[in-house]
Amino acid sequence: MDPKQPTRNTAAQAKMKAAFQLTKPQADFMSCILSALFAALPAFIAAMMECLGGGNTPGADDYNPGNRDRC
């Protein structure tokens, strides 16, 4: 067998690889979308927590009213 000739198996792999290979504009687009999604993730989680009554931005104090005698 000529080692330079691709086997049926490696040809299928190359075809598969080509199918999943993104063009540069596609890669840029995906990169942009993923960056935006990851950037929005903390705000999304905070909004979800707020909607669920879970409170505040992670790391912030909760509102904790005191009951101390001042007078």
């Binding site: 931005t57 912030a60 509102y63 904790n64 009213p65 005191g66 101390r68 005698d69 001042r70």
Partner: protein, 312 residues
Amino acid sequence: MTTVLQQIALFRLVADNHHVAAAWLDHAHNPPTLRVLTTAPPYNEHLAILTNGDILPLNLPPQLQDFPFHLKRVAPFHDLRLKLPLGAPLNANQDCQNEPVHMGTQLQPAGAGWVGTAGLPVKWADSAGKLHWGILSNWHVMCLNGATQGHPQHQPTDAKPAIALLADWNSVSSVETNYLDAAIADAYLDGFHTISPDIIGIGPFGDHPIDAAVGLQVTKSGRTTGRTTAKCSAVGATVKVGYGDFTAIFSAQDVFQDTASAFSAAGDSGSCILGASCLCPCALLFAGGGDLTIGCPIRYAIDRFNLVFPFP
């Protein structure tokens, strides 16, 4: 809608005429009318005032010369903090409170020679996104000369423990146009927030801010006059306010007129003006004179301090 050029012209009208206390374009009238409040007797035929029997025309910028006008005499406007000494407490707004302290209460910065009102419980996000809970009041109530972060704010006077520490402020200029006289103080002390979500005589307030509009019925709870009501008589007004040792000019302010008893008096500075029906914050009371009260639109404070609603 008053244009930017017209706002600049209104500033010039108020700044260049000693006897003009306020001016605005009344768009509720057709055609829009230039309304001018003067501290001297008005002479409406020629947009002038009377001084010592003489007719003194007002210096009117060209951008305002085509509008029909109406002049009205008023008392000069001044800030509404109350200078010491104080008498005995006369209402619940002046009494000492245990925690959690309701807003609308008397407030004194440590060492200040005056008191004002802690107007509204507010929540804000700092530059790192961390939330804080504290008090919204006026710059001229919470800040001494050379204000520093962390300056203690006491209720009802500095003879009692502090309830908040000065966090941020928007100071007032005597040379540039102003939009906001406000400051915030963080009420988180020793592991607890000292303040309640309620306002004295009102209870919980509305969960969203609103803009004032001419005719809007409003209410407030303040240190001196307690809970009172008024009606919005102008928005977008340019106003001259005396601060004792200097005078400042504010643009785009809300004006409120007494409907029954006096809406405000010295000591009520810092009160939050709420729409009477929804109890939604609409302005921050900071000045007045005669039967008129001046408030900064609450949206300026929201933008300046990143306030977040609803509270808490």
